[in-house]
Symmetry: C2
Subunit: 244 residues, 2 copies
C-alpha cells in the first residue's frame, strides 16, 4: 500500500537507463522508445510511473540532487559549528561545496561520473522547465554558500564574489561535463591517467584526478586580485594556509 516493492524494479531501471542516455545524447535527442527499449520495459511505463518525459528528467536529477545538496548543507553546518563564530577559510567552503559533488563521481552507487557528466551538460540547457527545476533544487544551498563566502571574504565586494561563484560553477560544470568538444585540449589526459592506478575503474580515477586539479584552480580564481578599481583589497588574501 504505502511502498510497493514491485514498483521499484521498473522505476529504478528506467531511471538508470535514462540517466545514461540523457548523458550520452542530450535530453531532446533521447526518445522514449530508446529509453524503454534499453531498459527492457514497455513504452508506456515512463508515462505510467513518471507522467511525462519532462517529469522523468526531473526525477533523474531529484533522486541524486536532494541527497547531494543535503550533504552540502550538512558540511557547511559542520564547518560553521567548528569555527564557532570565527571566519571560515574559503578553501574549506569550496571543499564543502565542490568536493562533495566531485566525490559523487567516485561512487557508482551515487551515479558516478555518468551523473556528473549529465549534470554538467544539463546545467546549460535552455529549456524553461529545466531552468526552473534547477533553480528550485539549488536555491537554498546556493544562498547559504553565498552568504558563507561573503563572511569569509569581508573585504571583497559582494558583487565580485557572486561573479566568481558563477565562474567557479562554470569551470566545474564544464569540467565534469567532459564533452571534450576540443579533444586537442584533453589529448594527453586519458593516456596520462591510464598509466597509474589501474586498480579502479577509469571513471573513478578520473573523478579523483579531476578533484585534485580543479580545487586549486577554483581557489586561485576565487582569490585572484580584484580588477583595477580596487587595488588595496589584495592584502585580504594572505597565504593563511597550505591547504591548496
Amino acid at each position: 500500500m504505502s511502498d510497493q516493492k514491485t514498483t521499484s524494479d521498473t522505476r529504478e531501471r528506467i531511471l538508470d537507463v535514462a540517466e545514461r542516455l540523457f548523458m550520452d545524447n542530450g535530453y531532446e535527442a533521447t526518445s522514449m522508445r530508446a529509453i524503454t527499449s534499453a531498459a527492457e520495459v514497455n513504452l508506456a511505463a515512463v508515462n505510467y510511473h513518471f507522467g511525462s518525459k519532462e517529469a522523468l528528467l526531473c526525477e533523474v536529477f531529484r533522486r541524486r540532487l536532494t541527497w547531494l545538496n543535503d550533504q552540502r548543507l550538512q558540511a557547511l553546518d559542520k564547518l560553521e559549528a567548528q569555527a564557532a563564530g570565527a571566519p571560515i577559510k574559503p578553501s574549506q567552503i569550496l571543499e564543502a561545496f565542490f568536493g562533495t559533488l566531485l566525490r559523487m563521481g567516485e561512487d557508482p552507487s551515487l551515479g558516478g561520473m555518468t551523473f556528473l557528466r549529465l549534470l554538467g551538460r544539463t546545467l546549460t540547457e535552455p529549456a524553461e522547465f529545466i531552468r526552473t527545476f534547477f533553480a528550485g533544487e539549488y536555491a537554498q544551498v546556493i544562498d547559504r554558500y553565498k552568504r558563507a563566502l561573503f563572511r569569509a571574504l569581508p573585504d571583497v565586494p559582494k558583487a565580485e564574489i557572486v561573479w566568481r561563484l558563477h565562474f567557479m560553477l562554470g569551470a566545474m560544470s564544464y569540467a565534469i561535463a567532459g564533452t571534450d568538444v576540443l579533444q586537442v585540449v584533453t589529448g594527453c589526459e586519458v593516456g596520462d591517467l591510464a598509466g597509474e592506478a589501474s586498480c579502479d575503474d577509469p571513471d573513478t580515477v578520473l573523478a579523483r584526478r579531476l578533484a585534485e586539479r580543479l580545487m586549486p584552480f577554483l581557489l586561485g580564481g576565487l582569490r585572484a586580485p580584484l580588477p583595477q578599481f580596487h587595488e588595496e583589497a589584495n592584502k585580504q588574501q594572505e597565504p593563511s594556509s597550505k591547504t591548496v
Copy 2:
C-alpha cells in the same frame, strides 16, 4: 561586380535567425519551420542554400569562428614578434585568447552576445557532428596557444597546464552561455550593471563587465599553486605516493 548581391540576403537572414533561435531553444528544439517562418523565407530555402539542418548549424558557427580564430592567431603572432624570443606573460596570452572572444560580445556586427551565448551553450552539446566540427575549427588555434602557455610557464608540468586550459575554457564557456540556471547566483548582477553606463545597449555593457571580471579570475586560476599530491588530511585511501 561581385556575386555577393546575387547571394542576396536570404542566406544571411536565415543565418541570423538561426543563430538567435538556436541560442534561445537549442539545436534539437529548433525546427526548420520555426527558422524559415521567422526569417520569412520558404521552408525549402534552408535545404537549398545549406543542404541540411546540421550544415546550417555548422555554417552559423563557421562565419564567425574562422574570423575569430584568425584574429586569435594574429594576436599571438604579434605577441611573439614583440617578445622577440623572450617569454610572453601568461596574462598577455589569456588576453589574446579570451579577450579577442569577449570583445565580439560588444560588437553586434560580429554576432554580439547572441553568438557568444550560442557558442557557450553549444560547446557542451554531445551530438557527434558538432563535436567533430568544433574539433576541426579549433585544432590549430588551441595547439598554438597550448604551446605558448608551455613556453610561458616552463616550471609547470604540461599536463597541469592542459588541465587548467580546460578549466579556463569551461569558466568562459559557462559565463558567456549565461543560462542562469541558478538565478540565485546572478541575482544582483543585472541590476548592478544597469546602474552605470546606460548609454549602450545592455548586452554590450554586459560583455564589457564580463571581460573585466573573467580575465582576473582566469589568470588567478591559471597561476594557482600546484596541487600537493600527499596533502590528503581528511581522506586517506591512497597510500601509494608513486604519482609523478
